[in-house]
């Protein structure tokens, strides 16, 4: 990606605007990327293909309770992995001989990564005879893990696109998780819990806004302090209220899955996306709202202009401070919603530090996703998929047992490599973290 000037970013309606000219790659770059693909292909053929046990790898794509059953897919593990690896090698050869154009190159890389992943699954599935990898379950778990990350990253998008760094996502989530459990229990109403979660996330957002915008405090340090603050306050209130009297303060109900008519009956997609709880549906809506809002509305244009060049925005009459306050608090509301998902959306009762660092992963997803809602969604899904996959890998016996310590770092490694390969350089909003002082 060539660095775009700030005016361009404001002018374009899409955050990933293609560069102006499609220059052909240099020979060195072409050979380099071909070698990268060739390496993937060779890994797929030699390690995964020939390393797989003879026999079938089986994949399941429908849940046992679905009305429309998809038969279990069985493929010869070795042959399939070798064929997928060969496909990658062909792409590599084409790149070496002719060179893909820019867009084609990215597609070729994406196809190669997916092919290698499928080869990997064939290899993994061949380890123990009779293993059936539940692909639908794997994808369901991916969504399950991704939702708080996506919401957290959206909170970051709202905040940082207007030029305020939000390290406090974790604290906003944690206070949201606490309030959701507590107020849903007190009111015997899950809706009240969601509203309370959003308000408490919004309150931390408001603290962040006041100190960052009014008092010009260093925003990274401020975020860290707010995280400690949320951890301490929720921990204290947990000890003081919830622990002595779980029934009164900490026994919320749980959002039950709601299967949507028609959409819920679709094979694969139905149970995956449309048979889940209302907080997940709300997440779908929020992704769309933030994306459209940011890139296709006046509010979005103003937000981005304030995040890129506040002085210019001020000159044309935009109230920089007001835009930032509004966005930071809105971000807090969304992060609070992520907190509600962590307790009453998935497990119910609150326990100390239940967010366990999800806010920081969300922050990373935001950056890997180039501060765009869809990019953050992709990064969060990728991380969640790698995390869900490592669990499955540890359960089914792979042909070579993978040490649990390596599996633990797998989601992080996978995310870093995929981001390095697919995303490349990322650029923060130009005024991110810089307080605006009217001169």
């Amino acid at each position: 990606m060539s660095p775009e000037s700030s005016t361009e970013v404001i002018a374009h309606s899409s955050p990933v605007a293609a560069g102006p000219a499609e220059l052909p790659q240099t020979t060195a770059a072409r050979v380099g990327s071909a070698a990268g693909l060739a390496l993937l292909g060779l890994v797929a053929v030699l390690l995964l293909g020939l390393g797989a046990n003879p026999g079938a790898a089986a994949f399941e794509l429908s849940s046992p309770s679905a009305s429309l059953q998809i038969p279990i897919i069985r493929v010869p593990a070795r042959g399939t992995a070798v064929a997928l690896g060969a496909l990658v090698l062909v792409l590599s050869g084409w790149q070496l001989a002719h060179g893909f154009r820019r867009r084609g190159r990215r597609r070729a890389l994406a196809v190669s990564l997916v092919a290698t992943l499928l080869a990997f699954l064939c290899w993994a599935g061949s380890g123990t005879a009779g293993t059936v990898i539940d692909m639908l379950g794997l994808l369901q778990n991916t969504i399950f893990l991704a939702v708080p990350l996506v919401l957290g990253a959206l909170a970051g998008v709202l905040c940082e696109r207007s030029g305020v760094i939000n390290v406090a996502i974790e604290g906003q989530m944690l206070s949201g998780a606490f309030s959701a459990a507590m107020f849903a229990t007190l009111a015997h109403n899950l809706g009240v819990g969601v509203v309370a979660a959003m308000i408490s996330g919004g309150l931390i957002g408001a603290l962040l806004a006041v100190f960052a915008i009014k008092y010009l405090v260093n925003q990274v340090i401020l975020g860290v302090v707010l995280n400690v603050f949320a951890l301490g306050v929720t921990g204290f209130l947990y000890d003081a209220l919830m622990q002595p009297d779980q029934n009164t303060f900490n026994s919320p109900a749980l959002f039950a899955p709601v299967r949507l008519p028609l959409l819920g009956e679709l094979p694969v997609l139905g149970p995956l996306l449309f048979d889940t709880n209302v907080l997940v549906y709300l997440t779908y809506v929020l992704i769309a709202v933030v994306h459209v809002g940011l890139f296709h509305t006046r509010w979005g244009l103003r937000t981005r202009s304030v995040g890129e060049h506040p002085r210019a925005a001020d000159t044309v009459g935009i109230n920089v401070t007001r835009v930032r306050y509004r966005n930071v608090i809105a971000g807090g509301l969304v992060a609070g919603l992520a907190g509600a998902y962590i307790t009453i959306g998935t497990v119910g009762a609150f326990t100390k530090n239940i967010s366990s660092g999800k806010g920081f992963i969300a922050l990373a997803a935001l950056i890997f996703g180039r501060w765009s809602p869809l990019g953050a969604l992709g990064a969060a899904l990728l991380f969640a998929f790698a995390d869900a996959l490592q669990t499955v890998l540890s359960i089914i016996g792979t042909p070579v047992r993978i040490p649990s310590a390596f599996l633990a770092m797998f989601p992080y490694l996978a995310t870093i490599f995929a981001v390095a390969g697919l995303v490349g350089r990322v650029r923060a909003p130009a005024a991110d973290g810089q307080p605006y002082v009217k001169s």
Partner: protein
């Protein structure tokens, strides 16, 4: 600008105070001499120097005193000791990360504690150093032993209790697959998983069945399924869901608070899946999931701590180390509660027989993580 510094400082103070409050002892059972927080080190010295009184302190591992797991059991041992002998004053500090171990241990020593109990094997290295630096002070550590004369090791051969749990799980599974996962791949966790695995293998041997264990194999200590957290319930639920998707219907989480996610997954399965709880009696520590808890593999930390503290208060510190086994009720299965009628009587009597055979040594436990 001056104003902003002041406001920022205020927020910082509130944050730190709140963080401190989060780990402050609950006032119940804390006598006045021990109520001073760890930060005001010297102030409690006069009261604790009284000859008859024993000032027993505890450094908890991360997760908090109410983790419904081993911190909670250890603290219960302290409160029980105080109930038995009112001359004992008790207090604890929590650790919010592994970086807190050494400062917490040092603070307890400086505070004038007669004995400091470190809860958790992860504190071994920190305690070893602190005990070397303070040879006149007495210490105890749970889940470890350092071999030092002033450190009493309190360990548990929980593989014995988990063996019974594994046998029970194998006996009640309908799908022929049972599962276990840990919080971290460390011996105090994997010893449970070893015992569970052995129990299932024993069931297969005597019954001629082939019940599979997902998530752990004693023969392959480096692999296995781990949540890499003791607090992330969501991760615990996701791991449990993955087990259920791969066909398991009895899950044994060895991951503290993370394991509560297994309860949520079992509840979502509508009763098809049951959970074997760990460390404490699940129906007491997490009653909301009691209908799904077939039983619990307990580690009787409370009793061991009480014995140690009351022993120390009576004048002589126990020396050497303690190993909790089935024979001394240091480990075992909790009552079946809701499952009493669902677990066949034949299985219950087989469990009693196996217990006796493990005590007598007729059934050997092979876990490499057993305390020696």
């Amino acid at each position: 600008m001056k104003n902003s510094v002041r406001v920022m400082a205020l927020l910082g103070v509130v944050a730190l105070a709140a963080a401190g409050c989060g780990s402050k002892p609950s006032s119940s059972g804390t006598s006045s001499s021990a109520a001073a927080p760890a930060s005001s080190a010297a102030s409690s010295a006069p009261a604790s120097s009284a000859a008859a009184a024993l000032n027993a302190c505890m450094v908890l591992d991360v997760g908090g005193v109410d983790d419904r797991s081993f911190n909670e059991s250890a603290w219960k041992g302290m409160t029980d000791a105080k109930a038995a002998n009112s001359a004992i004053s008790i207090s604890y500090v929590s650790s919010s990360s592994q970086n807190d171990y050494t400062p917490n241990l040092n603070a307890e020593v400086a505070k004038g504690c007669n004995t400091t109990i470190a809860v958790g094997g992860l504190m071994t290295d920190a305690l070893k150093a602190v005990a070397t630096a303070n040879p006149t002070k007495q210490f105890a550590i749970i889940d470890s032993a350092t071999g030092q004369p002033n450190v009493y090791g309190i360990q548990f051969n929980t593989a014995q209790g988990a063996f019974l749990g594994g046998y029970l799980a194998a006996a009640i599974t309908k799908t022929g697959k049972v599962a276990t996962f840990g919080g971290l791949n460390i011996p105090p966790v994997t010893i449970y998983m070893d015992g569970f695995w052995e129990g299932v293998q024993y069931y297969n041997k005597v019954k001629g069945k082939s019940v599979q264990v997902l998530g752990w194999n004693e023969k392959d200590q480096k692999a296995g399924t781990f949540a890499n957290s003791f607090t992330d319930q969501g991760k615990g639920r996701q791991v449990s869901q993955a087990f259920i998707q791969q066909g398991a219907d009895v899950i044994f989480p060895v991951a503290g608070g993370t394991g509560l996610g297994a309860g949520a997954a079992a509840a979502a399965s509508g009763g098809k899946v049951s959970v074997l709880w760990v460390d404490t009696d699940g129906c007491i520590s997490a009653p909301q999931y009691c209908p799904y808890f077939v039983s619990s593999v307990v580690k009787n930390i409370a009793k061991a701590v009480t014995t140690y503290v009351t022993g120390a208060a009576s004048g002589s510190y126990p020396t050497g180390s303690y190993i909790g086994t089935l024979a001394n009720d240091g480990t075992g299965l909790a009552p079946f509660h809701d499952w009493a009628s669902k677990v066949p009587a034949s299985v219950q009597s087989e469990l009693d027989q196996i217990k006796q055979q493990i005590i007598s040594g007729a059934i050997p436990i092979t876990s490499p993580s057993q305390p020696k």
